[in-house]
Amino acid sequence: MTERRFADGALVRVRDLPVKGHMRTPSYVRGRQGRIEGCQGSFPNPEERAYGSDGLPARSLYHVRFRQRDLWPAYAGLAADSLSLDLFEHWLEPAHGT
């Protein structure tokens, strides 16, 4: 098991890294702030595996929850509506706020 950098409940921002090839971080969450809901375990890095390496060491994969209103300015729905997805640790940085 890889050691986790982020605890459940931690506020994180998705890094807006340049797109260099295959990755599993959708553009709509890049640069957005969300909260760690849990950790799914550690998995080989798909960005490296996509080019033939084993993707090791495995990276922590977090389930991160966003408020829909933080993702879509014109979101039509409840303020409580949310969206969550799995993001690898190297895509996340600590964030501060509410």
Binding site: R24, P26, G41, P46, W72, L78, S82, L83, D86, F88
Partner: protein
């Protein structure tokens, strides 16, 4: 089965489809010849997928509705809970998402077509098509309405985008009026769409 339209004359689409089937046959025969695959393994894999249907997921949901201890185990480790019922779901981690009167889950894969195949079989074509993948994340309530699904106004919607190494199965809300039903009877009202989250399980279906 989908409707088959009669094509009395070969169309351009038919030619294209024949060319494509020939390409598949060519690659398949070369792979067999080179010893990478066997015809038996391919046949067995096709049969394996044919046996994977939403009925598997429905059995799991029906058990969870009937047995709170099983539901707790399902939410903690869906692969192990499936194995308890003799349903093989190895390889990919599956996570069950519990709907409540206050919270409704909707599953999508915006980047490709990840789907809990071990429990639901092959995904429907619309799940893999751009419209659903684009809109389920940004306007889930409009997408639900297109499926004829209306939620109570106070119910919160949570969209789950399967981006990486986990697949998601929605544990629908057990409909009122199903008290005392057997697991078989309950399983019969759990449709594929309810386990994706675009529909609700409804007592009227059985």
């Amino acid at each position: 089965m989908a409707h088959d339209h009669d094509h009395p004359h070969p169309t351009r689409a038919d030619h294209r489809s024949h060319a494509w089937e020939r390409r598949e046959a060519a690659i398949r025969s070369l792979l067999i010849e080179k010893g990478l695959l066997t015809a038996d393994a391919i046949r067995a894999k096709i049969e394996e997928w044919e046996q994977k249907t939403p009925a598997l997921g429905a059995r799991i949901v029906a058990r969870a509705w009937s047995d709170p201890a099983f539901e707790a185990r399902l939410l903690a480790d869906a692969n192990a809970a499936a194995a308890e019922l003799g349903i093989e779901a190895r390889g990919v981690k599956i996570v069950a998402l519990k709907n409540t009167p206050r919270l409704h889950h909707l599953v999508v894969c915006t980047l490709c077509s990840c789907y809990p195949r071990a429990l639901l079989g092959l995904p429907p074509a619309w799940y893999k098509a751009p419209a659903y993948r684009s809109r389920a994340v940004s306007e889930p309530r409009a997408v639900l309405a297109e499926f004829g699904t209306r939620l109570p106004p106070e119910t919160e919607v949570k969209v789950v985008d399967s981006t990486a190494d986990c697949r998601y199965l929605v544990l629908p809300l057990r409909p009122a009026g199903t008290e005392g039903w057997s697991e078989d009877r309950l399983a019969a009202i759990v449709g594929r769409d309810a386990m994706i989250g675009v529909a609700l399980a409804q007592a009227t279906r059985a």
